[in-house]
């Protein structure tokens, strides 16, 4: 049978506030356990939560960025469940009246196809603490520092049909929250996490199949792999005539599989009710309009501008814009260089990205500044160096050996463009290889490459390749 995959994502984004959503405790990452968990976070008797203005502002900004409806009146509710990392016995969240509803987001797929994904809602809520199961043999240790860290949970419509679409959507949301500056988006530290709802249905069927929810996917790769695993597992179950159980599953990155965590029956009964400790939140239309004016240039707008202003392809523009800092770096290179923007794009997305990935360095901490890369491109542009030598110089710049001109000077890498000098090299190679010359003259065109290679080698890669080509053609006629 032909199956169709249906995917919806729930993304939890930690907001980059200084203090918690309902208390004045710090949200800084990595502090000693429980040193940032105050009486409100611990749920001690008699405490009262008071909502953080900045968390509200950030949620509204997100709503505006995805063309959603921002609720002028929204309500906090208690989501009741027992787990030791949630000391109150409930999580303060939003249920019936979330702060953001009905947004949309456009994703671009590998083949350039565009697709709009619906965003059902985004609501404000508090994060839970952390359980440490390994530390003690017969107890679980609880660190409540993360308790009360503001989150927005972004719930998509079940609009995605493949793992590729799900990852594209997740990357787009990640990009937007970083552009807005409302989250650091750090997945390793848990600032950006994803749950994936996956179900299958026979192709052409309107009705959805039973879904599973895979929890806590904290990298783009894990989302992709977990979804692939779920698709294969579910098809296998269905084709063997069995039924999918609606349940929560956990992805194990080491084994690359998902496994059942708990059945939905018990877990889903959260008995939401409006939190009597918190009054309805009213957001004035004037405040929303004020924030709308403050929206920065968002990825979609920037992609359009990059394509127009720098004459870049969809692919280059998408990839440069994905990360706000990469886009900024690229524009600085272009501004400081006479080289074509396309050359700058190739270098930023090619050699530079490769070493950044390899050494796991963020582009803001890149040892080769935008100005230095611009200098390198200028030397390619004015023919001082060839592209090949440029790669060598780039490595030297990366290792901290100075700027482009200093390295060219120190290593004697200046391109040879003096035609009499190249001519001498060409003649020497021709004279040294009479056999190959004979072959070439008898019609073996492929041998030409051998001659180019020999001349480049003799010049230690410094001869201008175009001139070498032209001179060889001329001399070997």
């Amino acid at each position: 049978m032909q199956w169709e995959t249906v995917i919806g994502l729930e993304i939890h984004v930690q907001l980059a506030t200084n203090s918690k959503i309902f208390s004045g405790a710090s949200t800084a990452y990595g502090a000693e356990p429980n040193t940032q968990a105050c009486a409100v976070d611990l749920g001690l008797p008699g405490v009262l939560p008071v909502l953080n203005k900045e968390a509200v502002r950030m949620a509204v900004m997100f709503g505006l960025a995805v063309d959603a409806k921002v609720a002028e009146r929204s309500v906090f509710a208690r989501k009741n469940y027992f787990y030791p990392d949630s000391p109150k016995g409930y999580q303060i969240s939003q249920f019936e009246l979330p702060i953001v509803e009905h947004g949309t987001l456009e994703i671009v797929l590998g083949d350039g196809e565009r697709k709009t994904i619906g965003i059902t809602r985004a609501h404000l809520e508090e994060d839970a603490g952390k359980s440490l199961h390994e530390e003690f043999s017969d107890s679980t240790g609880i660190d409540l520092n993360r308790c009360g860290t503001p989150l927005i949970e972004i719930v998509s419509e079940p609009d995605m049909r493949s793992a590729e679409e799900a990852v594209a959507y997740m990357k787009k949301i990640h990009s937007i929250v970083r552009y807005l500056g409302i989250s650091d988006g750090n997945m390793q530290e848990g600032s950006f996490r994803c749950d994936a709802n996956v179900s299958m249905r026979p192709k052409g069927q309107e009705e959805f199949g039973t879904r599973t929810e895979t929890k806590n996917l904290n990298s783009f790769r894990f989302v992709e792999r977990a979804i692939h695993y779920e698709i294969d597992r579910q098809i296998d179950v269905l084709e063997n005539g069995r039924e999918i159980v609606q349940e929560t599953r956990l992805y194990d990155a080491n084994k690359d599989e998902t496994r059942s965590m708990r059945s939905k029956e018990e877990a889903n009964d959260y008995r939401y009710f409006p939190d009597p400790d918190l009054l309805p939140v009213v957001i004035e239309p004037s405040f929303i309009e004020e924030l709308r004016k403050q929206l920065p240039e968002l990825p979609t707008e920037k992609i359009t501008r990059f394509k127009q202003e720098y004459d870049l392809s969809d692919y280059d523009a998408e990839n440069l814009v994905m990360n706000k800092e990469t886009a900024k770096y690229f524009e600085e290179v272009v501004k400081n260089s006479n080289a074509k923007a396309k050359l700058a794009a190739n270098w930023v997305l090619g050699d530079l990205s490769a070493v950044l990935n390899q050494d796991d360095i963020e582009i803001n901490n890149c040892p080769v500044s935008a100005g230095m890369l611009a200098g390198l491109l200028d030397r390619i542009e004015d023919n001082t160096i060839s592209s090949k030598i440029a790669k060598e110089i780039f490595q030297a710049m990366w290792s901290g050996e100075g700027d482009v001109d200093a390295i060219i000077e120190a290593k004697g890498l200046k391109q040879i463009t003096d035609s009499s000098e190249i001519e001498a090299l060409v003649e020497q190679v021709i004279n040294d290889n009479p056999g190959q010359l004979e072959q070439y003259k008898s019609g073996k065109d492929k041998v030409f490459g051998f001659f180019v290679g020999q001349v480049m080698k003799l010049s230690k890669g410094k001869a201008n390749p175009q001139q070498v080509n032209d001179l060889l053609k001329d001399k070997m006629k």
């Binding site: 405790a25 429980n34 040193t35 203005k53 019936e96 918190l278 009054l279 309805p280």
Partner: protein, 95 residues
């Protein structure tokens, strides 16, 4: 809308309330009568009435995003049933 003894047990479990087996029947009767009382409101036409989220006719005040709390871990952990290495300890939880 009567509440069954099974529902009483389910709710008790969700709320982590321990109730005696011989009291389940009585809880079912009591809870049913409370629900019935509330049921009477279904007779009222509430079509154009905004649901009340809070009995006070006021809106939420917001606080500035400032860190105002300092570390009082030692005081909190002094009254906790069990704590070690800065962590609160609970019976082992296995997922």
């Amino acid at each position: 809308m009567p509440i069954t003894p099974e529902e009483v047990l389910k709710i008790a479990n969700l709320a982590r309330l321990q109730i005696k087996q011989d009291e389940v029947e009585q809880y079912a009767i009591d809870l049913s009568s409370i629900i019935n009382l509330v049921e009477q409101m279904n007779a009222v036409d509430t079509k154009d009435i905004q649901p009340m989220a809070h009995p006070l006719d006021a809106t939420q005040r917001l606080r500035e995003d400032k860190v105002t709390e300092n570390n009082q871990r030692d005081k909190f952990q002094a009254v906790a049933p069990s704590a070690e290495k800065g962590l609160y300890l609970v019976p082992k939880v296995i997922e």
